[in-house]
Amino acid sequence: MISNLWAWLTSAENWAGSDGIAARLVEHLWISGLVVLIAAAIAIPLGLWVGHTGRGRWLVSATNAARAVPTLGLLFALALWVGPIIPGRAAFVIPSIIALVLLAIPPIVAGTYAGVEAVDPAARDAAAGVGMRPSQVLWQVEVPCALPLIWSGIRSAVLQVIATATIAAYIGLGGLGRFLIDGLAAGDYPQTAGGALLVSVLALVADGVFATMQRVIVSPGISGRSTRRREIVLAPGKPDASDGVGPVRTMSA
């Protein structure tokens, strides 16, 4: 079984062409990228607004509760009810994109909200005290402090989207999921398992890339990369340098 799988993965013929592995991989990447961008454009402002103003907390609870909706059911419902009103080939793509965006929003909202909520009130007061306007407090203090949690929200959204885009091949979406769904339908286990392996590797690599990016974009003063210098200054009363961005449980939000 493993040798068949290996043969499928290494055959040059399977990699080339518009329905080859390379093309499907690119397709999977750009669908996931597009979906996460749309979801972030909706979810980050929403999370910032709830976290900054403290209003509309029910929105966060509602998005959390929405996670109990079975992803498969959401995909099928949108394909069945939204698909027919869209003309042409887009009828297969648009419902999938909508479903994926809907699934990517909750983790980003939860992360953004939890990040802003967890900002040390002293930092917020100090910012207001030195004369920052509310918008400056938000963009220059709250967002940089909340960035680690915002980013981890985006990271889980990315994984969710890569995984669900695979399943969306069942309702006609392209991407690597095609190998799994078409392979299952044809009883072609090497192709199915080959696709499964590729999607798993893609998810692992994407997660690794986002973890590395997190180190780069988060301010050194927050991620603790510059604590060596600060430790000397702050040593006496320093119970926990990362207090403001500590292990906040998004699930309790």
Binding site: P70, F76, A193, L204
Partner: protein, 222 residues
């Protein structure tokens, strides 16, 4: 509603399938995660290794994991054990962290007091540390249970019957009633699991309901 009334028997048997496919991995996963979480707490170097490994396992998409299970286990693709094993992997991945963090939430002075009273090693773990970790542990279990119910439905794509069959069949034959029944049944089941775990957690931790007791113990995290 008429669809549900006509197919009540089928829905019920699929529901029972769904219950054991999501509940059994939850129990096995908890049994495996307890010693792993304890080890992650016990040895400083074990924590990052265990948490990173479980994070990586959780990264693998569900459909891919179901499909790859036969390669690991040597089972047939239609064997429900593939689903049980894959769900157990996810559950362990989620719970190792909950167990470790839950044990970490036990205040040092409580541990010290227990040691002073003669509790040692395994006995202290069972009688003191584990009960105090229950609030954090049940929070993790609730997340795992709700996501298990959703992920199990994906198994209908590899031909393992459970509530997901209503979704797949409802879509394939464009029967709205069947699709809606499937979605609602999954939601109800997820909420039921959530409520049961929440309830059991409360019953097991009577001290959290005494006003001020949590604050006094210093363990007000969950």
């Amino acid at each position: 509603m008429t669809w549900l009334a006509d197919h009540w028997g089928d829905v019920w048997s699929l529901l029972l399938q769904h219950v054991w496919l999501s509940a059994l991995p939850l129990l096995i996963g908890l049994v495996i995660a307890l010693p792993l979480g304890w080890a992650a707490r016990r040895w400083r170097t074990a924590y990052p290794i265990l948490v990173t490994t479980s994070g990586l396992l959780y990264t693998i998409p569900s459909l891919a994991l179901f499909i790859l299970m036969p390669l690991v286990l040597g089972t047939k693709i239609l064997d429900p054990m593939n689903v049980v094993a894959a769900m157990t992997v996810y559950t362990v991945a989620l719970l190792v962290r909950s167990v470790a963090d839950g044990l970490g939430s036990v205040p040092d002075h409580v541990t010290a007091a227990a040691t002073a009273m003669g509790y040692r090693g395994g006995r202290r773990f069972v009688a003191v540390d584990l009960p105090l970790a229950i609030p954090v542990l049940t929070a993790g279990l609730r997340v795992a249970a709700v996501s298990n119910v959703s992920i199990v439905s994906v198994a209908s794509l590899i031909g393992v019957p459970q509530l997901g069959n209503l979704l797949t069949d409802g879509y394939n034959r464009a029967i709205n009633g069947e699709l809606i029944t499937g979605i609602v049944a999954c939601l109800v089941l997820a909420l039921a699991f959530d409520a049961v775990i929440h309830g059991v957690g409360r019953v097991l931790t009577p001290w959290t309901r005494v006003a001020g007791a949590v604050a006094a113990a210093g363990g007000g995290r969950a």
